[in-house]
């Protein structure tokens, strides 16, 4: 019973509040017209947050592009260094030197990046030539190398072991290669 009474009291307080709100409520037509006028206004084309997000995205993409270009440049340089160490390039290339000389002389009147590039390439060529000449010397040394124990393997009968009978030799000479069976029979 008490809760029903309380509910009535709460309802009475709410209805009192409602009456007060109705008195202060703005007119419908005014609110509606303001809403209509707001819909007529052109929307702001520039969105700051969207612009900032786009700029950040652009910066990130540019950074990635620069990094990828740098890594691509680094890979061919290391590859050429490994290629110069292979046995195919042992022989010294005398004609490269002239190319280098030409390349060094020409970039005098060109822009600074070209100069740097030419200087770098000439330096690389000089390094390659030096490496090749050293490798050729080492190859010659390997050819004439002998083992220190090679003398121990040689013996006086090496000539007999290494020689073969000729087809046009006479029978007596051939007999010397056969085992002595007749002597065994006499025994």
């Amino acid at each position: 019973m008490e809760s029903v009474g309380d509910e009535k009291k709460i309802r009475a307080l709410f209805s009192e509040l409602k009456i007060a709100d109705e008195q202060t409520a703005p007119a419908f037509t005014a609110v509606w017209q303001r809403a209509q006028s707001r819909s007529m206004k052109p929307r702001r084309a520039f969105n700051l947050s969207f612009a900032v997000a786009t700029a950040l995205l652009f910066c990130a993409m540019a950074t990635l592009a620069v990094l990828s270009i740098r890594s691509q440049r680094a890979v061919p340089a290391s590859a050429s260094a490994t290629m110069s160490a292979t046995p195919d390039s042992f022989a010294p290339r005398s004609d490269k030197g002239s190319n280098v000389a030409v390349a060094v002389e020409t970039p005098k009147d060109s822009s600074p990046p070209v100069k740097i590039r030419v200087a770098k390439s000439s330096q690389r060529h000089a390094q390659e030539i030096a490496a090749n000449s050293q490798l050729a010397k080492e190859a010659k040394a390997i050819e004439s190398w002998q083992s220190p124990t090679a003398d121990l393997l040689s013996s006086p009968s090496d000539g007999l072991f290494k020689s073969l009978p000729q087809l046009n030799e006479n029978a007596n000479e051939l007999k010397s290669f056969l085992p002595n069976r007749e002597n065994e029979k006499e025994k």
Partner: protein, 197 residues
Amino acid sequence: MTRSVSVKTDGMQITELKAELERLHSASFGWALSCCRRDQTEAEEVLQTVYLKIFEGKARFGGESSLKTWLFAVIRKTAATEYRRRLLRSFRLTGDPEEIVERAAPNESQSAGYERSELQGHFQSAMKSLPKRQREALHLVFYEDLSLREAADVMGVSIGSARQHYERGKKRLRESLATMELGYGISWGRKENPSAV
């Protein structure tokens, strides 16, 4: 009672919709006030945004529920969005969290649009002390005369959940009003307190 009509915001039906909105305007304003913590300026702004949404066709009435519950649900969502936006804007402008709380809180002078009686003032402060869901359930049932099912539709919860919010809110409101009654010697129903005389 609300009339369940299929309304679209294009063609000839806009006039019918406008008439329905006009009929529900004062109730909508009361609900917007409740959603905006009794801030009249904010409530008006929210209502204007809701009408704009309906006018532009961003909010469409599908006819699944009554127009009143649909409109109230739109008001509730718009008020929440506006509150978040205002909070973000104030955070961007000031960056001081304490100032943000002050700005986000409703202006007492604005909310007191009329001369409140003492009991009404206590009642409103008791309502403010309630959790949001409980306050919404009580407002929809007592102020807007909606059934619990309709209140649940507006709040976007199940009817069981709405009933729980309603019962708990009613209990807490009764308790806080009783405490105030004891503290200030105010009697319910505006009866004179014999002990005070």
